[in-house]
Structure formats: C-alpha cells, structure tokens
Amino acid sequence: MVSLSDYLILSSIIFCIGLAGIFINRTNIITLLMCVELILVAVNTNFIAFSHFLGNEAGQIFVFFILTVAAAEVAIGLAILTLLFRVRGSIDVDVTNSLKG
C-alpha cells in the first residue's frame, strides 16, 4: 500500500522542482508562470492526499478553489505579459527595470 508520506514526499519534490525552475529560468516570465503552476499542482496533491487519508472532503473543495484562483491568475498574468511585450518589445525580466531607483 502507498502511504501518506509517499504522496507528501512526491509533492514536496515537485514543489522543489518548481522552486528550482524559478531560480533557473529567472529571465523568462512565461516559464516563471509555468513554474508557479507546477508549485500549485504540488500543493493540490498535498491537499488531495490528506483529504483521502483523513476521509474529509473539505480538502478537495479547497483544491477546487485553488484551481479557480490559479486559472484567473494565469489569465491576468498572460494579459500583463502581452501588454508588456506590446510596450517593451521583449518579455525579458532584465528589460523591465523601469521602477529601479
């Protein structure tokens, strides 16, 4: 049988892969958004594992809302990205330093 700790360790590994992806792909905003999606899926796996093993459906309800918020976040993030590309002509993070003092 697969224990709860297997699922938790799997989701922590996925979480850290997403975190390392943010470090590695620091100059590419679109890959940063994808890494955030990966982190959210890892967290959702955590919720569903606890929901299954504790016999409580509230965790799955929470995952439902996390999916909703993540979809909204992706839509607005990609809209900002499109706007940034239209204004700056590039989506490199190093170009977007106009707020730098």
Partner: protein
C-alpha cells in the same frame, strides 16, 4: 510490492521526469508540452487518490484551456527562438542547492515515522456505488455555497481585467462624442450657397 505501488511509482517517475524536463527546456513551447505531461501524471495520481472530479477538471481546464492559452501566447509573441537562457549557469547552482535542502528537510519531516502506514493507515477503497461528484456537490452547494459564488465573481473579475488590459484603446473601435453632438448647430452642418445660373447671366 502491490500493483497500487507499482502504478504510483510509474506515475511519480513520469511526474518528476516531465517536471524536470519542463524547467530545463530551452524552448518555451516544449516546456509547455512537458508541463502538459506533468499535469496528466498529476491527474492520474489524483485518480489513484479517489479524487476523480478534480482529476478530470485538471485535465479539461488546465491541459485543455490554460496550457493552450500558454501555447497561444508563446506563438503570438514569437519568443520561442529568442535567447531565454542568458543567465542559466549563474543561477543553476543556487537553485539546485536551495531545492535539495528543501527536499531533504521535507523528507525528514514527512517521512514514514510521522506519516507512514502505521500512523495513518490507508483507508478502505469505496465501492462501485460511490460517486465523488455527488459528495463534492453536496459539500459545494450547501456548506461552501458562498465561497462558490465568490469564485464565480472572481472569474468574472479576471475576465474583465484581462480584456481591459489587452484591449487597444482608440484605434480599434469608434465611439460617439455626446457633447459635440448636442452642441452642434445648423450652420456647422448645412452650408447654403447661392448658385447663379449661367443661362440667366447671358440674357
């Protein structure tokens, strides 16, 4: 090793492998495709955890809509050939060190001594008459009905915000200026000219 464990380890392998391929992909479009595989493995693991509705939602909403939106933006912005990995080598060791430390710490905390089968036994599988959708819907439409409505409002706000952000202001649509229309006078629109007929001039 039971068949459930074999399935879990196969799915976990593909989940981790495709996630690693995603963060190391040089091409943004390939990264999206690896992320699709990773989401698919995640949905399979969720089905293993008897969360069928959320697994199907993940595939339909994420793989079907959000990832296609990512691909659409990547192709529209035409950035898949640009130099995206300028500082790759500079941040790779730091990222790997941080990730490995976090994995080690979490493995210590979440190991078998704390969350193993002896502490939390695996629950019995539900029968064929169990419906995950019915259980979720009962919770969602009774206890969590206000958060459910708020989520709908949040999606509406996201739609309006996204459209407002990328909408071009003046060039794409015509609109009427009401004050100019009210203030217009007859002499602005109608010009009376007196035309003398050439035939009468000859007489």
């Amino acid at each position: 090793m039971s068949s459930e464990q074999i399935i879990f380890y196969i799915l976990s392998f593909w989940f981790i492998a495709s996630s690693l391929a995603m963060i190391f992909a040089r091409n943004a479009a390939k990264a999206v495709l690896f992320l699709v595989l990773s989401f698919f493995s995640a949905a399979s693991i969720w089905i293993l955890l008897e969360a069928e509705f959320l697994a199907i939602t993940l595939i339909l909403v994420y793989v079907g809509a959000v990832m296609v939106l990512f691909l659409f933006v990547i192709k529209m912005l035409n950035i898949d050939k640009s130099t995206l990995r300028a500082k790759f080598a500079g941040y790779l060791p730091l990222g790997l060190i941080v990730a490995l430390i976090i994995i080690a710490e979490m493995t210590l905390v979440l190991g078998g001594a704390q969350f193993g089968l002896e502490v939390i036994p695996s629950p019995a599988r539900h029968g064929a008459d169990y419906s995950n959708i019915t259980v979720l819907a009962m919770q969602l439409y009774t206890t969590y009905v206000y958060p459910f409505e708020l989520a709908a409002v949040l999606l509406l706000i996201a739609i309006i915000a996204a459209i407002t952000l990328v909408h071009k202001k003046e060039s794409t649509h015509k609109k009427q200026n009401v004050s100019e229309q009210v203030n217009v006078r007859a002499k602005d629109r109608v010009r009376l000219v007196t035309i003398t007929s050439p035939s009468k001039e000859k007489k």
